[in-house]
């Protein structure tokens, strides 16, 4: 779950991380009493808003409405701006960067910081990036914060405020099941306050059930992806035109890889997982068809998944939607023969290996065989 800036800041504030005052608006006329002078900020789930013109200053109410009118509806790297957040303008003395994520190799949370905030953190030279592991079992210890502050070389008073932000951010990270907490910039104001200038928060999807209050807040999906998500199906839209349906993320990726190696391009990635419920398979197929692929490539390697049940779902969906999309199927596992028979009855092509299936799909797309 990714959160828009204003929502992330609302959560930050709950954890006592200082944030600027701000108001949200979907229409210019909703802007009544913004904190002036303010920054009008496009609310989109993508970085680089500033450079794209999605963050602009305003001095008066009229100007704020004017700027909002310009920003609302903008397209920023493929994301349409539906809301703006009008925030008190900070007098920036210094910009820091603070990030918290999980380091897989160390099996521990990783705290990152740099005194070169405000810019894209990937562009910060490695040696200017401070990294500190946090042993989750014993929690955030003072030495971690000490080491960080030492690296940031801040005045004592500012350092103490930053230390508090780090502690609160870690608290949030653990309690809200965050994958990522990022504050860039963490602003030191001319008045000597430390305030979160921006706020990025990604909450672990797997922990959604523990945070019912966040349900439906993720906006980083296409309409079809959202529909799939609501049905509990892993479904991702890509740039190509061949629909890939497989079971298991690794196998689905391997199938896409094979397709690419043969000169094809995946248009949808649908991971059926372990299910063999024909109704679910049908639903998945219907979603796939809605994405209008030129060919559908089915690759199932069955464990519990019964091949014939999957095939039956495919047949039903094709029948009911009167779809004439060519299908290439490669199915291994329980009741493999029956599955092939069913698929053949709807005119699908059978393949033995992934490589062969990919080759066939690319051929079919090009009008053959």
């Amino acid at each position: 779950m990714k959160f828009l800036e204003h929502k992330a800041k609302e959560i930050f504030a709950r954890y006592e991380i200082p944030v600027p005052r701000g108001v949200l608006a979907s229409r210019p006329e909703d802007i009544v009493d913004p904190p002036l002078p303010c920054m009008v900020k496009a609310q989109v789930l993508i970085g680089g808003r500033g450079k794209a013109g999605g963050i602009r200053p305003a001095e008066t109410l009229e100007e704020a409405r004017e700027v909002a009118t310009q920003i609302l509806g903008m397209d920023i790297h493929g994301y349409r701006v539906k809301q703006v957040y009008l925030e008190e303008r900070l007098h920036i003395r210094k910009e820091l960067y603070l990030g918290l994520t999980i380091d897989r190799s160390a099996r521990e949370p990783l705290l990152m910081a740099t005194a070169m905030g405000g810019m894209d953190v990937e562009e910060v030279p490695r040696e200017a990036l401070l990294m500190e592991h946090i042993p989750a079992m014993v929690g955030l210890q003072p030495y971690v914060v000490r080491s960080l502050l030492r690296g940031l070389a801040l005045d004592k008073d500012i350092g103490e405020q930053v230390a508090a932000v780090v502690r609160h951010a870690y608290d949030l990270f653990r309690k809200e099941d965050a994958e990522l907490v990022e504050i860039n910039p963490l602003v030191v104001t001319d008045e000597g306050r430390v305030v979160a200038g921006d706020a990025k928060l990604v909450v672990d999807d797997n922990a959604e059930y523990r945070h019912p209050e966040y349900a439906g807040l993720d906006q980083d999906r296409t309409p079809l992806e959202q529909e799939a998500h609501d049905k509990g199906i892993v479904f991702i839209q890509l740039d190509g035109d061949i629909g890939v349906i497989a079971n298991g993320a690794g196998l689905t990726m391997a199938t896409l890889d094979a397709l690419n190696l043969k000169g094809g391009r995946g248009g949808v990635f649908l991971d059926l997982g372990g299910t063999d419920d024909p109704e679910k398979v049908k639903q998945a197929f219907e979603l796939l068809i809605k994405a209008h692929p030129s060919v559908i490539l089915v690759n199932i390697f069955g464990g519990i998944t019964k091949a014939d049940t999957v095939a039956m779902g495919v047949k039903q969906a094709l029948d009911e939607m009167h779809a004439t999309i060519p299908v290439v199927a490669r199915i291994k596992g329980v009741n493999e023969a029956a599955a092939k028979e069913i698929l053949r009855s709807v005119g699908s092509q059978a393949a033995e290996t992934i490589e062969e299936a990919a080759e066939l799909a690319v051929k079919l797309k090009s009008g053959g065989p």
Partner: protein
């Protein structure tokens, strides 16, 4: 021999009364595994496939001498079940369940290590030593006894590759599905070290995927410590950056964790990388 799992394992199935637990209890027994007990709170006294069910793992340890556990437990209850198994003295815990909150794993994975417990998974297809025992969900029929070790981050892709290996004449000593989650109990390096030591294993297959740096670390370890031939496959070589491909935790992060970086690391370690899963046995034949 084999690594981690042999026929000596006395397996308790946590979540045995569920659909998956029941199905795989049968499959594991068919494979030759000694499934000695099941655990489902509130279901003590019943039997599943002839296996006695207990309320607590401790009872399975005391009454049935269980020493290994496999979890078919819904994600929200895995932390509880895993800690229960560890505290009951189980020394090998396999967690099949996917979609477990990362922060739960941050708690129970290091805890398992602190207690000297080998944890496999979560979000994995389990472990199998053909001719000995299986704890997991990989189809029995694709295996063949042999001397090749398999380490895989993936699920069904593991089936695909093991199947191709068996077809191509390369049986397995043990196949360890370490799982695709960011935080796992046994990682590639851990499993490599075990296979390097195992006298039954003469070569190793690594199945990786994009995201994380497990493959890069494995390559580094191979360069330094592994003398047996290793062959690899990496899934997601053509995945578009920034898109998360399912639950596999395959998020591509700036420079690190990409398929290119992994393939390059394997190249430098002298590990041939297969283009298609089906090419793995061919590469094995030429090592």
């Amino acid at each position: 021999m084999a690594v981690l799992l042999t026929k000596k394992a006395r397996v308790v199935v946590q979540g045995i009364t569920g659909h998956q637990g029941q199905f795989h209890t049968r499959a594991m027994r068919d494979f030759g595994t000694k499934v000695v007990a099941g655990v489902t709170p509130g279901k003590a006294g019943s039997k599943i496939e002839g296996v006695p069910v207990f309320d607590r793992v401790r009872d399975a340890v005391l009454k049935r001498k269980a020493n290994a556990s496999i979890l078919f437990v819904p994600a929200p209850y895995v932390k509880d079940a895993a800690v229960e198994a560890i505290e009951a003295g189980i020394k090998l815990v396999v967690i099949i369940t996917e979609r477990i909150p990362f922060h739960d794993c941050l708690d129970f994975v290091p805890f398992a290590r602190s207690k000297g417990v080998t944890l496999i998974g979560p979000n994995c297809p389990g472990i199998a030593s053909p001719g000995q025992a299986k704890m997991g969900i990989i189809p029995n029929l694709i295996f063949k006894e042999g001397d090749t070790g398999v380490i895989s981050r993936s699920g069904t892709l593991t089936y695909e590759i093991v199947y191709a290996m068996s077809q191509g004449g390369f049986g397995q000593s043990t196949c360890v599905g370490i799982g695709g989650d960011p935080i796992n109990g046994t990682n590639m390096v851990d499993a490599l070290a075990l296979f390097q030591k195992d006298r039954k294993t003469n070569r190793i297959v690594l199945v990786g995927e994009i995201g994380g740096t497990a493959e890069e670390e494995a390559a580094e370890f191979i360069k330094k410590k592994v003398t047996k031939p290793v062959v690899a496959y990496v899934a997601g070589r053509t995945a578009p950056p920034g898109k998360r491909m399912g639950h596999a935790g395959a998020i591509i992060q700036a420079g690190r964790g990409t398929a290119e970086s992994k393939v390059r690391a394997f190249d430098e370690a002298g590990v041939p990388v297969a283009q298609y899963p089906g090419d793995v046995p061919k590469l094995l034949a030429s090592t």
